[in-house]
Amino acid sequence: MALDIQAATDAQGRCRIALHGMLDAGTSPLLDRELERVLRDGTPSALVFDLAGLEYVSSAGLRVLFKARRAMQQHGAPLLMLSPQPQVRKVFEIVHATPVDEIFASTAELDRYLDTIQRRMLGAGDED
């Protein structure tokens, strides 16, 4: 089965990448290329992987996600996972791939979190 990738950046510079299908040895290079493209256009203020449609992930896919995480960390920007399916979540948990606070069950929950971060950053900026 293939992997479908849809990336979109919103007005706040947050990039959301929705994955559908399987992220394995065969399809992970597609995501790798897409990530390179996104990061080349400038680091987004936040990177969100929408995993609601992702049915499977193997170590090859995990590597790409880890790589994305490191790239975002270097710019001090958050990488967040939205709605992983149980099977995907199980793999994350086995390899301790993602701190629990980086996984969100719903878009509303995620948006609230991102807005909070943004306000905090804006607040910190005002104080400078």
Partner: protein, 543 residues
């Protein structure tokens, strides 16, 4: 002068004044007549002189009467004032009381008469009112504190129930829906659902005697012990016996609980169950018939430590819907007094599709129509569980298939898809299918990438898949150079979590964490890797 009665006061002054005027008039007339009419000693008065003196006398009497009248008027005014002045003060005080000022004492009226009594009575009323309002305020505060505590207790009690009292869940082989509505803030009904493993579903539903806070406290005890009683056994009889032993201890109030407990084998549809004095659940069978589950019965839990419970079994067919409930459902009263009863419950159950959530909604709607808006007399709990068979083939018998693929990376996807399809058709649950795919992808990617670096066009890899009732065995057989994937110590996942994607071993780490057995052997110049996955995975996080 102190009067004990206003009548006495008025009568006294009026009589006194009248008597004085009367006496004055009498004296005037007497002495007047003597002095004026009779003149001096026996002198004869002329007619003119007599007329002049009579006029003078009449004038004197008239003036005196006038004076008397004036005096009486002044007395009336004074007496009136003596009455109205304190009344006015009292009125002002009462207006202050009416505005809510109960603290300042009334203007004192130091009198013994009715006015004094009235003033003291009003002041006593004010004090009593103040004390009463104080008590009322304290009671209202206590009540609102109690309400707050009950609300908190309600939240705590809800959090003890899976889904907080409104649970909907489905999984491989089942779908269920549970609803609990306490009659008061807190109640004694409860339900529970646990998974020992992916194959068995354990559930319970119960009703503590009594209602309200005592029932809620005992319910917390039952729920607390239920999960530990059910933890390591699939035998409902044993669960009830253990729970009963726990609940009989330190139960001086002789609280008790009726409980139905079942364990459903999702692979075969076998329902094992036992009841401790609880209503027999209804079973809406896939063929459309609605029956009552046969119950051998046993006493409620918490009373007799030596109580015996019978284990019973019932073979469910795919699509069968079990509805367990508490007596708050059947005993719900209409405004007119009629009970909802099992007949209406059965009718509601039969009146639509068998999906658990739809069935529960139907029963609740029918219950609502029956009771209208009358206060619920008891907690209401419904628990609907539908058995959905796993694919029939291979559910019981073992299955063994061998796949051979050219040792080329571009052939991997095809092999994985074939294994996946075979396992799905054999009735493996989706979690196991995905795990198998993950294990094979990790093992084979490793072998294909590093074992056949020169291109493995001439070589073949054999994969054997063996599914039994309890486990899935995967064997990979290849002729690459010797490589034991399991010699290295298990890596520390922290290295990957730090984002260092170059650290290897991620895939083999996954394999070793998923497998219950991971073995390597080398024979006849071939690598043989054997992985065993449990068919039914024990769940620790399923709540």
């Amino acid at each position: 002068m102190a009067f004990r009665s206003l009548t006495a006061r008025i009568a006294f002054w009026t009589l006194l004044a009248s008597a004085l005027v009367y006496l004055a008039a009498l004296a005037l007339i007497y002495f007047g007549v003597h002095a004026m009419l009779l003149g001096g000693a026996g002198a004869i008065l002329t007619h003119g002189e007599l007329a002049r003196r009579a006029e003078l006398l009449l004038g004197g009497v008239g003036a005196l009467s006038l004076l008397g009248l004036l005096a009486l008027g002044a007395l009336a005014v004074r007496t009136g004032r003596r009455i109205t002045r304190p009344l006015r003060a009292l009125n002002a005080d009462l207006e202050r009381v009416a505005r809510g000022d109960l603290d300042s004492p009334l203007t004192p009226i130091d009198r013994q008469d009715e006015l004094g009594q009235l003033a003291r009575a009003v002041d006593a009323m004010r004090s009593a009112l103040k004390a009463h309002i104080g008590e009322l305020t304290a009671a209202v505060q206590a009540r609102s504190r109690m309400d707050g505590e009950l609300q908190a207790a309600r939240e705590i009690q809800r959090s003890m129930l899976p889904g907080g009292g409104a649970l909907q869940r489905s999984g491989s082989g089942f779908a269920l829906c549970a609803r609990l509505m306490p009659a008061r803030s807190v109640g004694g009904d409860f339900y529970g659902v646990f998974r020992h493993d992916t194959r068995h579903l354990c559930f319970a539903l119960g009703d503590v005697s009594d209602k309200g806070v005592p029932a809620a406290l005992f319910m917390a005890r039952v729920v607390g012990h239920l999960e530990s009683a059910a933890r390591d056994t699939l035998d409902p009889q044993r669960i009830l016996t253990r729970l009963n032993a726990e609940l009989c201890q330190r139960n001086d109030n002789l609280m008790f609980v009726t409980l139905f407990c079942g364990v459903l084998d999702l692979a075969e549809g076998a329902l094992a169950y036992a009841s401790a004095g609880h209503e027999a659940p209804l079973l809406l069978r896939a063929d459309g018939e609605c029956v009552t589950l046969p119950i051998a019965g046993g006493p409620p839990l918490g009373v007799d430590p030596a109580a015996q419970f019978a284990a019973q079994r019932y073979a469910l067919d795919a699509g069968d819907l079990l509805l367990a409930y508490t007596d708050g459902v059947t005993d719900a009263r209409a405004g007119g007094g009629g009970l909802f009863g099992e007949a209406r419950l059965t009718a509601a159950l039969l009146a639509g599709e068998r999906a658990p959530a739809a069935a529960v909604e139907r029963v609740l709607a029918s219950l609502q129509r029956h009771t209208q808006d009358s206060e619920p007399g008891d907690d209401i709990t419904l628990f609907a569980l539908q058995y959905l068979a796993m694919p029939a083939e291979g559910r019981h018998a073992g299955m063994r298939t061998r796949f051979v693929m050219p040792a080329r990376l571009d052939m991997l996807e095809q092999l994985l898809a074939r294994v996946q399809g075979t396992l799905e058709r054999a009735g493996a649950i989706s979690e196991l299918v995905v795990d198998a795919r993950l294990v094979l992808e990790e093992l084979l990617t490793n072998t294909l990438r590093y074992g056949y670096a020169d291109g493995g066009a001439q070589h073949h890899i054999a994969v054997a898949v063996t599914l039994t009732l309890d486990q899935l065995e995967l064997t990979v057989d290849d002729d690459a150079p010797p490589f034991d994937p399991f010699t290295h110590p298990l890596a520390d996942p922290a290295a990957w979590a730090d984002g260092d994607a170059r650290v290897g071993g991620l895939g083999l780490y996954l394999v070793r964490r998923l497998a219950s057995v991971a073995e390597y052997s080398r024979a006849d110049d071939r690598n043989r890797t054997r992985i065993v996955l449990p068919r039914w995975r024990t769940k620790t996080t399923d709540r």
